[in-house]
């Protein structure tokens, strides 16, 4: 079985082809292409511009992916696209492309939940059987565990997503958006050494990140060369606090919050494995912290690299193909997309544990 997956729920458009040779064999990635829309520093990506970007790229990416995969159109079994959640305009432009090729090639459509795509991709790559899943990206922060054919959400953010928090923090400090803000924050954090007090808000298995942004606004005004010396933030030894220190403190604080809520969910369901998925999941420091926590619980952490961690077409193709295998098809008239689509709304018919 071969599927093509189209993903475009945020600022990345990804086209992937995957083959499932046999249920007992691992899936084979045939092609995995992606193009990212980067907004200028100090700005986020807006729906309209992002949608234009996706429309500009979708045709050549599909052509290139099919060519690279070396498959004939008639070998493709289904066309999978992201139904949601995500930004509406980009979602819509990619859904339109999916409908077009479905009609052009006469293939069935499968609408896929973006979060489930991340989870299934992570499970396939890492071979983690039944882990607690931490899904952290620009738009989502969820702690998920599987139970009775659903991916149930145990903990999540009470306000904004972790990636959104990092992006906006980076914007406040005028950190560039290329390749992505989180990457640049991570690189800067490697050179930070002073821990600045940043709000730490965990409630049960949920976390809150908005207070951090308010704190960041204040902190950003008290660092840097152009701030008078007596007003600049210093550590106990009188050294000035730098941009690097702020990035370091941000990562140490928010990742500790994530690890804590994940650990609480693991303690609650009695799991020892943890899988980190989503764009923020490619952060090495987060993976390291999660690994230390999992080790102390006698388990291990599974993380994927940026090819599969960051939004891509393969994950949509993979999850869509699993769903298609259970007989699920999205009719043309139902092939809409939506900004709101909970992870636990999807019936996981392909797992029976």
């Amino acid at each position: 079985m071969i599927a093509i997956g189209l993903e475009g729920s945020a600022n990345k458009i990804g086209i992937g082809l995957i083959s499932h040779p046999h249920p007992s064999k691992p899936p084979i990635v045939l092609a995995n292409l992606r193009h990212t829309y980067n907004s200028p520093p100090g700005e986020g990506f807006l729906p309209k511009e992002t949608a234009i970007h996706h429309r500009t790229w979708v045709v050549r990416l599909i052509k290139q992916a099919v060519k690279q995969a070396g498959v004939k159109i008639e070998d493709i079994d289904c066309i999978c696209y992201t139904k949601g959640p995500g930004m509406f305009a980009p979602l819509q432009s990619v859904a339109l492309a999916a409908r077009t090729i479905a009609l052009l090639w006469g293939k069935p459509l499968v609408g896929v939940n973006h979060c489930v795509g991340h989870i299934e991709m992570g499970r396939a790559i890492t071979l983690a059987n039944n882990p607690v899943v931490l899904y952290v990206s620009g738009g989502n922060t969820q702690v998920i565990a599987y139970s009775s054919n659903r991916y149930r959400i145990f903990g999540e953010t009470l306000d904004i997503a972790i990636g959104n928090c990092i992006d906006r923090f980076a914007r406040t400090l005028m950190i560039p958006n290329d390749p992505f803000p989180g990457y640049n924050v991570e690189q800067l954090a490697k050179h930070g050494k002073n821990l600045v007090d940043i709000p730490y808000a965990v409630k049960g298995m949920d976390a809150s990140f908005t207070g951090i942004l308010a704190a960041a606004e204040v902190l950003a005004k008290s660092i840097g060369e152009n701030v008078p010396e007596d007003k600049r933030l210093k550590n106990e030894g009188g050294e000035f606090i730098t941009k690097e220190d702020l990035c370091f403190s941000l990562q140490e604080t928010i990742f500790a919050m994530l690890v804590e809520i994940t650990e609480r969910a693991m303690a609650h369901v009695g799991a020892t494995q943890v899988l980190v998925v989503g764009g923020v999941g490619s952060n090495v420091r987060l993976q390291q912290m999660m690994g230390l926590m999992a080790r102390d619980r006698g388990g291990s952490v599974f993380a994927t690299d940026e090819r599969f961690c960051i939004d891509n077409g393969i994950m949509i193709a993979h999850a869509g193909l699993l769903e298609w295998g259970t007989g699920v098809v999205t009719e043309l008239e139902d092939s809409w997309c939506t900004q709101r689509f909970r992870t636990d709304e999807v019936y996981v018919g392909w797992r029976d544990d």
Binding site: H35, H114, D296, Q339
Partner: protein, 278 residues
């Protein structure tokens, strides 16, 4: 947008798992006066290792709640959180006990060492009760509707609701109110496989509890109920209707309950708001 080529992410090789990280567990050493002898590990919670041991006399059973330094956390942040949480927990427990809510008594504490000694709570957790109940429903011994009519379990739900209500009434929010943290204490102090449904309800694990200020009362109370609701829903899909009984009893238990219930609707919506972006 002006880049001319797509980022190449070509991967034709089959997917293979990464090498697993090392899993050798370090042994936590408890600070004095505790030694590993005479200690029995009860649970490894998210934050604390919970041991059963004796305190002061050989036949006074107690619980030692030890918060080891978290290796993943920055040492300064770790110390700050450990101290703040341990002290908050001890203060809340003392206050709740004084106000007549059944909670473990505080026998000793050391916030530098990270340990807290609490009196022993026998019996079992509501989670065990619900698991047993859900298992029976699943096996078909009891139809779901019949099981719901079961007076004993409904009475238990009502008492849970009233107990949580009383806690909020005296100005304390639990902060991590899951079914594992609600115990049914049997008079015999023995823990069997199934705790007696009629046992006294005792709330444990006040690690994230806090004193409520008047202007955050609704919010904190509603988040408690929301966490409990999700613990019911997430662990036992079949037990969701039981939670309605908890809410009913809660809403009749104290004067502030009505506005907390109203806020709960907001909290549910806000929790659900997170389905917006991808």
């Amino acid at each position: 947008m002006a880049h001319s080529v797509a980022e190449p992410v070509p991967t034709i090789a089959p997917l293979s798992p990464p090498s697993p990280p090392p899993t050798d567990r370090p042994l936590h050493t408890l600070p004095a006066p505790f030694t590993t002898s005479n200690l029995q590990l009860l649970a490894q919670g998210a934050e604390a290792l919970v041991y059963k041991t004796t305190f002061l006399t050989p036949n006074t059973p107690c619980v030692v709640k030890y918060r080891p330094p978290k290796p993943y956390r920055h040492p300064i942040l770790d110390k700050r959180l450990t101290k703040a949480r341990l002290l908050a927990e001890a203060r809340v427990l003392v206050r709740a006990g004084r106000e007549g809510v059944s909670v473990p008594r505080v026998l000793g504490a050391d916030w530098e060492g990270g340990w807290l000694v609490l009196s022993w709570v026998g019996g079992g957790s509501v989670r065990q009760v619900l698991d047993g109940w859900a298992e029976r429903v699943k096996r078909g011994e009891q139809k779901a509707e019949q099981a719901l009519m079961d007076g004993e379990i409904l009475d238990l739900m009502r008492r849970i609701g009233r107990c949580v209500g009383r806690l909020h009434d005296i100005g304390i929010s639990h902060g991590d109110l899951t079914t594992s943290n609600i115990m049914l204490q049997s008079p015999s102090q023995e823990s069997g496989p199934q705790p007696p449904l009629g046992g006294e309800i005792t709330l444990i694990d006040f690690g994230l509890a806090s004193h409520i200020t008047p202007n955050s009362a609704d919010e904190e109370g509603a988040v408690d109920l929301y966490v409990l609701e999700r613990a019911f829903a997430a662990t036992h899909p079949a037990a969701e209707p039981l939670f309605q009984e908890v809410l009913k009893a809660y809403s009749e238990s104290w004067k502030g309950a009505k506005s907390v219930m109203k806020r709960l609707e907001d909290v549910r919506l806000r929790g659900r708001k997170r389905s917006m972006l991808g």
